[in-house]
């Protein structure tokens, strides 16, 4: 029967906690106890990514790239110090998408430059992007 209520519209936590009246969950016994461990674990702040869309083609980097994610007062940040990329967004997904756009741009940009056109930091970045995406070289 259609009720007009959509189950999927409910918050996930509420859906998860729902069980029929009179029943109770029987969680498995776990070593060390449930609360002490899961609550105390530090969430990893680096996201490894290895598949990228570069100029419309799926590329796998020779080494996974770590995207550090953090939340500031009014924005989410996604950055990588080695590659000199930092993107912001209203959500972490938006920040990551911004990061991936910049990465795609820089891979193409540095690959378009000859070695004699770059010095200093640009030379280091060109070498690094070339090592990470050798197949993307023109």
């Amino acid at each position: 029967m259609m009720t007009g209520l959509s189950e999927v519209a409910l918050p996930q936590d509420e859906l998860r906690s729902r069980i029929p009246t009179g029943y109770k969950r029987v969680p498995p016994q776990v070593s060390g106890g449930e609360k002490e461990f899961l609550k105390g674990i530090e969430f990893p702040n680096v996201l490894p990514v290895w598949e990228f869309n570069i100029a419309g083609r799926l590329r796998v980097s020779s080494r996974p790239i770590g995207i550090t994610l953090s939340r500031e007062a009014d924005a989410f940040l996604a950055f990588n110090d080695a590659l000199g990329i930092c993107a912001t967004g209203q959500s972490s997904v938006e920040a990551i998408l911004g990061f991936l756009d910049q990465l795609s741009h820089f891979v193409q940009y540095y690959n378009s430059l000859r070695n004699d056109q770059v010095t200093g930091l640009a030379r280091r970045l060109k070498a690094l992007f070339g090592e990470l995406f050798p197949q993307a070289k023109s």
Binding site: Q29, V30, S31, G32, E36, F37, P48
Partner: protein, 237 residues
């Protein structure tokens, strides 16, 4: 003969490893916490006491003695002793650390029979979504068919399964979780191997080895080759 090198993934998702023994309540443990602390204070000098939890007996809550960096802990309660680390040094070293703490305590408090022995490995695999879906098959050899069209996009996952294996039981929990600041998401992969009765304290080393062998086997078969490569490689950060 030279020992085989211990393989520790440089980019492992392992967050915490816990080895716990539970036994019939032993009041001497509660009365001699000072003595337990004396034995470990050089390596685990920080003391954490449990907070009061309504409807739970305080004697069953763990006191925790932690290292200065808080990576290693000894947990102590009336009916349980556990050793935990957040910086896994590889199994041989973990075993050495755990047993060097637990074996003398078992002898001191004359622990003979145990109620439960458990080895737990808690992993967090960070992920990002594609078109709102978790790319489960990038990380895990786990196929969930929820529609007649074959594999469906998965946006949330929460699975707990327990299954007998070898001489014990394995509980595996797979769950998509979000960091407290909502900035990051990860797949929780929580393995807990336990042994049923009868259990002897004198056998804890073999229980620990058995738990490690089985968990490693399950972990290696559960993760994809693609993700294994990521674990084996240093990240560019």
């Amino acid at each position: 003969m030279a020992k085989a090198a211990v393989k520790v993934y440089p980019n492992s998702p392992l967050q915490e490893t816990v080895f716990e023994i539970r036994f019939p309540g032993e009041p001497a443990i509660e009365c001699h916490r000072d003595e337990i602390y004396d034995r470990v204070r050089d390596i685990l000098p920080k003391v954490f006491v449990p907070s009061v939890v309504p409807a739970q007996a305080p004697a069953l809550q763990h006191y925790q003695f932690k290292s200065d960096d808080e990576f290693k802990s000894l947990l102590v309660s009336l009916n349980s002793l556990a050793y935990s680390t957040k910086k896994y040094p590889g199994f041989p070293e973990f075993k050495k650390q755990a047993l060097s703490v637990l074996l003398p305590l078992g002898k001191r408090f004359r622990l003979n029979t145990l109620n439960r022995v458990g080895l737990r490995y808690i992993n967090l695999i960070p992920f990002t979504r594609r078109d709102g879906a978790i790319l489960l098959d990038q990380f895990l050899n786990l196929r969930l068919v929820l529609s007649d069209r074959g594999t469906s996009p998965i946006t949330q996952i929460q699975i707990v399964v327990s299954s007998p294996c070898e001489k014990g039981s394995m509980t595996l929990r797979i769950e998509s979780v979000t960091s407290p600041d909502q900035a990051r998401e990860a797949l929780l992969l929580d393995f807990d191997y336990s042994r049923p009765l009868p259990l002897k304290f004198s056998e804890i080393e073999s229980y620990l080895e058995e738990g490690h062998t089985l968990t490693k086997k399950l972990f290696e078969s559960l993760i994809t080759d693609e993700y294994r490569k990521v674990m084996e490689t240093e990240l560019v950060v």
